[in-house]
Symmetry: C2
Subunit: 479 residues, 2 copies
């Protein structure tokens, strides 16, 4: 995925950048936060993803001669600006929550500080990259939880929204706990294990289903999972699978690895199939199911007593079908004056939930020392430190009379630096490391917050200092 | 977009291909159809899109040494197969409905004929490419129709599912009638006009809203559209826009091009804004609105009497949020025996609507000679010809007693060749040509079929010959 995505930007980022330059604001330092307001599917938590790709994008930012020529042809950019782009050198500081961490609404999951031209320019790809992968990782996490220890395999490339949707979506799903993907290039590029069984067409290419299974078994004696619903699962598919196991595989010293059911009443068929396989001495033969599954159907199938070892999930995972948008936004939160003093900025809105948290901030995560669970997050000014040797007064930023003096916790800042003055300081992590980190973070989320429906809201509070500044700005702006 | 997507394929395409080779089926000729079963959003028609990208993909199919080495490392492919891939030469025939044409469920919108290894292999990208762009084109077409002649601008890159989702989605939206896109690279790559206004951050970067508008007007006197909802639309935004028009633009001989409203009660605000602008002699100043719009909100706003000249539509277009999946499938419909005789194949299913139409087919579109509208489509065997100088007996393939002897029509085949024995015979079309073609096709769809809700189903019938073969196969398979 090494194509240059510099020009994958909203056109207004460029017209505004040109305008900043022409209006003497080129060197003004601005701070932008990316945050989201709501968790997809009314869930209780989201999973941060896409950081590695954001870093790749920012590292490779450059405008080719072709880009410059194209922009010149639009007749709206001055030559000084085009010159600036031709010599573009990324100079921003960038911080983000690490990939795989659990995130909540209102938190600055990415912060960019730098010359406003640049900090504004990167908006589109910061949002696109983090929105997309966080969406799929969050959805995958729900599905993996629903599967209660059984494998969830990502099978959705053919219904993905474009090639990157398939490949990076599969990557995000793996981070959040999927067992692998059908997408081959995602294995080659990122090391996400590529998995697969067979299509109905394989079965149809042979004179009989038995012939088709036999041919597959002979070809892949150690990795033979057969698709049993081309004709009739219980009358044909399972009996043929058993016959091939006995007549072909076992004489070779091999076992039938699995059967896949892709249609029909999965609960009924999987229970009957399990019984038939067990009676044939094939207790180790796994049952894989697929067919428009999501976290709710997975939960229902298991509640109904379906006998399933792993789930293949396609379109409802790779597009997050029930809620295909992660609504992250990118907002100006501060600028610096000529002396380097930070001037916080707020965006007012008639919709109270759309009002932004101003200033250059940090997210502090407070973890319970007793049970190791995440207790609450606090947004602070960047230079504040939460001293976890002392009790800390949490209060609800809306209903400020809700207060709680919390003790026995550890506090750590969530944002870590990715770039310092344009230089990458991020140490790239292996996908297995990110995946393990994600699992360990999710372990620390209370069950009440993690549940699918009506989750208990997790607290994201403001420090007293930040709250005071926000209130002052609100009052000044509503004169 | 020149990256090699050969390996963007489901892993099972490769394991099956290797299996076909090892089982002596490498040279067997297979026919696969892509078709879809349901129209997103319960709509009455869909728009074919993505053909140019499918052609690009098929033209550039090749396995690099890196690909081969990766595949060898999986320890499941034989050397003979890896050799085959290293010397891969695409040899299939491919036909498709032209991009921009109106399509309906059950129709083979793409057909691939060739050695089963190859025809099977391309499944993932045939589906991904056509599913994605047809989804967005179909959604965009609904939105453009809702806007009733007003411009619809695609503004969704930041919420797209990956970079290709943004860029190719914007392309598909334009084909279906969007006026342009915010996505700069889509302009540079495909010539889709890039559009944009300004972000709230522009307004916040200046001491006052007036200063921000003035700076923009001076920078872009001939293309000045200002965002008026950063503080208060009617008390601040519109008055400042008028003041800048009078004090800055008009003395330069220029006019304020537009104002954009991105929040609040759009109907109320746009009507009041229109009145204020008109009273200031700015009848030519356009009102652009945005904020989580879709076809239903667009229709409602206009029904409520909102004064709107154009719509900026983001996430609900670029992800087709209400229905983010175009469920196209790719099914084996025939093979050839050693004498080149076609042996039709059918996929049985307990779900009757999942049963496939067998054989190598053509789609014939019957157009009414009197009003020029599409009357019905008929799927035929590929070598059948519908003679439009004679009456033709249409009958419902499910309820065969529903019959209609149709006259006074013209008939034309919809599928056209893209590749002949692996050689591209498709003449690439300019995007403006595809867009104009799409508009002309949509004009021929009956209003009853095109409506948003409860559309009248369009007839897709089978020829008598095809129906007879399908019935015979069904009966043979349900012995």
């Amino acid at each position: 995925m090494d194509k240059n995505l510099t020009m994958l930007t909203d056109f207004y980022e460029l017209t505004m950048a040109n305008g900043y330059l022409k209006n003497g604001l080129a060197d003004t330092i601005a701070y932008f936060d990316m945050f989201f307001r709501k968790i997809p599917d009314k869930g209780g938590y989201a999973v941060m993803a896409g950081v590695e790709q954001l870093v790749d994008y920012l590292k490779s930012l450059h405008f080719s001669k072709e880009d410059i020529d194209y922009l010149r042809s639009k007749n709206c950019f001055c030559e000084e600006f085009l010159e600036y782009l031709a010599n573009f050198k990324f100079a921003c500081d960038v911080w983000a929550v690490p990939e795989g961490e659990i995130i909540f609404p209102g938190e600055p999951i990415v912060t960019v500080r730098g010359p406003v031209i640049q900090a504004q320019f990167v908006e589109t790809m910061v949002l696109l990259t983090i929105n997309h992968q966080s969406l799929i990782a969050t959805k995958a996490s729900r599905m993996v939880r629903a599967a209660a220890g059984r494998a969830v395999m990502e099978f959705g490339s053919r219904r993905a929204q474009g090639g990157d949707g398939a490949v990076l979506g599969a990557r995000a799903a793996y981070i959040a706990g999927a067992a692998g993907t059908a997408c081959t290039i995602c294995d080659r590029e990122f090391g996400v294990p590529a998995l697969g069984t067979m299509a109905h067409s394989w079965v149809q290419m042979f004179p009989t289903e038995f012939d088709a299974f036999k041919a597959y078994a002979v070809t892949y004696p150690n990795a033979c999972t057969v698709l049993v619903d081309t004709y009739n699962v219980l009358r044909s598919g399972i009996p043929n699978a058993i016959r091939v196991a006995k007549e072909v595989l076992e004489p070779m010293g091999c076992r039938m690895k699995g059967v896949r059911i892709d249609s029909g009443d999965i609960t009924y068929l999987s229970r009957k199939a399990r019984q038939m396989l067990d009676e044939a001495g094939m207790e180790d033969c796994k049952i894989v199911v697929s067919n428009s599954l999501d976290e709710f159907l997975v939960r229902d199938l298991l509640a109904q007593g379906a006998c399933i070892d792993s789930f293949g999930i396609g379109e409802r995972l790779i597009t997050s079908r029930s809620e295909p948008v992660f609504g992250g936004v990118y907002k100006l939160v501060a600028i610096e004056d000529k002396d380097g003093e930070i001037i916080p900025k707020i965006k007012i809105s008639e919709n109270v939930e759309k009002i932004t948290n101003p200033h250059f901030k940090q997210i502090w995560r407070l973890t319970d020392k007793a049970d190791g669970k995440y207790r609450a997050d606090v947004l602070t000014l960047r230079d504040e430190v939460i001293d976890d040797t002392q009790p800390y007064l949490l209060f609800d930023p809306e209903h400020t009379w809700k207060r709680h003096l919390t003790t026995n916790f550890t506090a750590r800042p969530l944002q870590v630096p990715l770039f310092e003055k344009g230089v990458c300081v991020h140490k790239s992590r292996d996908i297995e490391e990110i995946r393990a980190f994600c699992a360990s973070c999710l372990d620390k989320v209370w069950e009440e917050v993690a549940r699918f429906e009506n989750p208990h809201p997790y607290y994201v509070d403001l420090s007293q200092k930040l709250w005071d500044i926000k209130r002052r700005l609100l009052e000044e702006n509503s004169r």
